[in-house]
């Protein structure tokens, strides 16, 4: 289908508009609320923008820095010029180690290069594990939104896909649909030998990558298979951990309106213990980015892929993602795809009214309308068509008004023919497009220039000496009442509890070690649990020794390396004595946290616990139970990770 045909189909699709309209509105409203919790949000956006733009030309240095630090921890770093090279890298890793079954988390970079088809052609089975991407894969469809892959479907669509492809009874209950996916995908996770992810950020300073997710599938993909390969666009590199944290502050709030996604995973290297991947590979993908970097639209490489511009774009909401027929739809997609080498997507910048809603919502204030305009200019310079002639005539007339005044008599007469009271209901091309749905206003009998008479009674003088000029008083500035710096611990604890409970975690605060142990004992009962080797407060519940039973254990008990008051999140580093599975596999995760380990926000935590990124193969920031909203934005708890999180806070 041509672009015109796709548009014609999409604008008739009420089903699509209902789904998109609701989702986009909900996400915009949630975003607006979520951003209010960021202190000096406009300053943070400015700083993030400056940092993103400054990083664009430094990409080679950033890759070198990343490689040096990542290699020291045993990570294999590759560079791929294009999709074919990236696929060849993954295939050769798989062939060397005999890997045959891949599980994959949502990654737009892999969509870009059609990785799944490439791997399947090499005999490697790939299973998408993000709920939305799983449905896309089952339906042999493609994602229509970079954050919400199946935003074009409603719950019955999803139910029908599952009924048809998985041979299960039809249901349109999001909880049941998620449960079916959870059960099927759990088998895939446990059987897989290769985990493939993208990355939200790659941090040169630490040589680690950062991934955000809600369902827990990314933790599975990066933890369970023998090998983890991350395909990372070179635009995901940032210089420092502080830069990464600043972007994280904006990313989930802009994308889904969450203060933090449920899981923020810092992958630092291969396992240092009995779990986690034996090998970690990071493939930096160029795929046209160097071309963009050298051109006029390099700014688009500052995009953090939050998808907010899609939700803001009135055109996207009318036509949906599939109309773009491109990996990235919406404003960011129209720029990124058209700026790539070649002319395949040169029409996409025409899908824009220049309303500026995308620029306004963009967390890093990318000048998307400006780039769309300049891409239109590139196309016009390549191939102007008949419009070039029209525009030359236009420019000639507008810069020679005497000619215009002459031409006006003819044009005005011609347009006024067949009009009634100043309007026509039909017109020849190119104005027929207008009259398809609108009456067309015709020129007035006499133009303003014909009829304006300068008032001769007043003497004109230049601007400064006007007695009429009134001073415009700016409103008096009020000094803000200044937030009182009250005792941090009590406030921090209360903030943490409120934030965690808002995420539906259950929180208990106990006064001493004995009370903590009693509380945990009452929560777990007699059944053995998955657990960290060393738990605080002398806790020592019976563990499950048989690995075959691990996936079927009901409760996981862990300590925590910290808490984050602002988001109610836990910080868990993965080490030999602190395995990942207790916080990942069981449906109920109980974490024991010392109140002194609660930090105000992620920034403070990353500064205070920088040691974790060096000593742990991965670090997980966990904000409440695993969740998805892929089906009609309906919140479903407990997808791949635990559906229930209990936090016991001790002294």
């Amino acid at each position: 289908m041509t672009l015109e045909e796709r548009i014609a189909r999409a604008v008739q699709d009420d089903h699509l508009h209902a789904a998109l309209g609701t989702a986009a509105r909900t996400l915009r409203e949630r975003r607006a609320v979520a951003l209010t919790s960021v202190e000096d949000v406009e300053g943070v956006r400015d700083a993030a923008r400056a940092q993103r733009l400054a990083g664009i030309p430094q990409v080679d240095a950033l890759i070198s820095g990343f490689t040096e630090r990542a290699s020291a921890r045993g990570v294999h770093v590759h560079r791929a010029a294009d999709g074919a090279e990236a696929i060849a890298r993954v295939v050769s890793i798989a062939e060397r180690l005999g890997l045959r079954r891949a599980v994959k988390s949502k990654s737009m970079a892999t969509e870009e290069i059609h990785l799944n088809a490439g791997l399947e052609a090499a005999g490697i089975a790939v299973r998408e594990t993000d709920l939305g991407e799983y449905i896309v894969q089952l339906a042999d469809d493609r994602p229509s939104h970079i954050i919400l892959p199946i935003v074009h479907m409603d719950r019955s669509d999803v139910g029908r896909v599952m009924e048809r492809e998985l041979d299960v009874p039809f249901t349109d209950e999001p909880e049941e649909l998620a449960a079916i996916a959870r059960a099927r995908l759990r088998e895939d996770f446990l059987a897989a030998d290769l985990g493939i992810s993208g990355a939200n950020l790659a941090v040169a300073e630490t040589g680690g990558i950062v991934l955000v997710s809600n369902e827990g599938n990314i933790r599975m993909v990066t933890s369970l298979p023998r090998v983890h390969v991350a395909i990372v666009g070179t635009d995901k590199l940032v210089p420092t951990l502080a830069d990464a944290e600043r972007i994280l502050r904006l990313l989930s709030r802009s994308a889904t309106g969450q203060q933090s996604t449920v899981y923020t995973t810092f992958v630092n290297g291969p396992r240092t213990d009995d779990e986690g991947p034996d090998e970690v590979h990071v493939v930096f993908l160029d795929n046209g980015r160097a071309h963009i970097r050298a051109g006029e639209h390099a700014e688009i490489l500052g995009c953090i892929r939050c998808g907010a511009c899609l939700n803001a774009c009135p055109v996207y909401r009318q036509v949906g993602g599939h109309t773009y027929d491109a990996t990235y739809p919406g404003p960011l997609g129209a720029v990124f795809m058209a700026a790539l080498p070649g002319e395949d997507h040169e029409e996409l910048p025409s899908l824009c009214t220049l309303c500026g809603a995308c620029e306004q919502i963009c967390p890093v204030r990318l000048d998307l309308p400006g780039m769309l305009l300049s891409l239109r200019a590139e196309k016009a310079a390549r191939r102007g068509g008949s419009r070039r002639l029209a525009m030359r005539l236009f420019a000639a007339l507008m810069s020679r008004p005497w000619l215009l005044r002459l031409g006006r008599r003819i044009g005005s007469w011609w347009l006024r023919r067949g009009s009634s009271d100043g309007w026509r209901s039909s017109a020849p091309a190119p104005l027929a497009g207008w009259t398809a749905s609108r009456d067309l206003p015709v020129p007035a009998r006499a133009s303003f220039w014909d009829t304006f008479v300068e008032d001769p009674s007043v003497a004109a003088v230049s601007a400064q000496s006007s007695p009429q000029q009134t001073t415009f008083h700016a409103p008096e500035s009020h000094t803000s009442p200044g937030s009182s710096q009250s005792s941090p611990t009590q406030t921090t604890l209360a903030t943490f509890v409120a934030a965690a409970e808002a995420l539906t975690a259950t929180v208990f605060i106990e006064d001493d070690a004995a009370a903590v142990c009693a509380r945990v004992a009452s929560l777990i009962g007699d059944a053995p649990v998955l657990r960290w080797d060393h738990l605080p407060y002398g806790l020592d519940p019976a563990g499950v020794d048989d690995p075959a039973q691990w996936p079927h254990t009901a409760i996981g008990v862990t300590g925590a390396d910290g808490g984050i008051a602002a988001t109610g999140a836990l910080i868990l580093g993965s080490r030999a004595d602190q395995p990942r599975r207790p916080s990942l596999l069981p449906p109920h995760h109980i974490a024991v946290l010392r109140r002194g380990d609660i930090h105000d926000d992620l920034e403070a935590a990353l500064i205070a616990r920088r040691d974790l990124l060096d000593s742990c193969s991965s670090v997980h920031v966990i904000a409440g139970p695993s969740r998805t909203a892929d089906i009609e934005l309906h919140l479903t708890l407990g997808v791949h990770g635990p559906g229930r999180v209990t936090i016991v806070i001790g002294p």
Binding site: I7, F448, T451
Partner: protein
């Protein structure tokens, strides 16, 4: 001794709706300003700029800059979109002297309010009014309070909110023809919002959007009166 302002009526008002330009003159004169019209400045070049024809847009802009350089005082336009082109696009086109013109340039309602129109002018009218916030004015120029404050100052009218007031009406210049199906879909949403608001009058600061919506409402047979804010204010002006 009276200050002079340069009124650039814009091509749309100048050719299609001269009454909007005349109303602008009325308002500026009521503020005690001497209004001159740089006769040879017809269009800001936006149609060429927005479709990517930069050499053609530059040619128009150069011509306009040359004309405006020869004049004194603030440059005022009854259009957020054209004011946005002068203040933003001309410098992007690297037109010599564009920056000096840009700092003199204002959109009409913003100019009126900055000059104290709310204290100096009195308005009285009737009807239920919906305000269409045009994109280039609202987001491009960051102007929303001024036109709303002027409307609120009209005694006797009721201003009603429009659903999704900040959403584009789908005009987008040549977009309305090039991507007619999408443009029409957006226009339909906007017209539905206007009809649902209970407004008997729809006003705004940009004739492009207003003619787009009016053309659609006419086709639909909807009796809402669409009128540029300059004209509405001039009609309501208490002498």
């Amino acid at each position: 001794m009276t200050e002079t302002v340069q009124l650039v009526p814009t091509c749309l008002a100048g050719e299609l709706r001269p009454e909007v330009a005349h109303a602008s003159v009325t308002l500026l004169r009521a503020m005690g300003l001497h209004v001159q019209v740089p006769r040879d400045v017809v269009c800001c070049g936006q149609p060429a700029f927005n479709t990517g024809f930069r050499p053609e847009a530059r040619r128009v802009a150069r011509h306009d800059v040359a004309c405006l350089r020869a004049t004194d005082g603030p440059v005022v336009l009854p259009s957020g979109s054209c004011a946005h082109t002068i203040t933003h696009a001309w410098s992007a086109l690297n037109v010599d002297g564009a920056d000096a013109i840009a700092v003199r340039t204002s959109e009409l309602t913003d100019f009126l309010v900055a000059r104290g129109a709310l204290a100096h002018l009195q308005f009285r009218g009737s009807g239920t009014v919906g305000y269409h916030a045009s994109c280039h004015l609202l987001r491009g120029m960051g102007i929303d309070d001024a036109p709303r404050a002027l409307l609120d100052s009209i005694e006797g009218i009721t201003v009603v909110p429009l659903q999704d007031a900040e959403e584009c009406c789908g005009f987008g210049g040549s977009f309305s023809v090039d991507r007619e199906p999408i443009s029409t879909a957006l226009l339909t949403r906007k017209m539905d919002a206007v009809e649902a608001s209970g407004a008997t009058i729809l006003t705004g600061c940009d004739l492009g959007c207003l003619l787009h919506i009016e053309g659609g409402l006419r086709r639909r047979g909807c009796p809402v009166r669409v009128v540029h804010i300059a004209q509405l204010l001039a009609e309501c002006l208490v002498p």
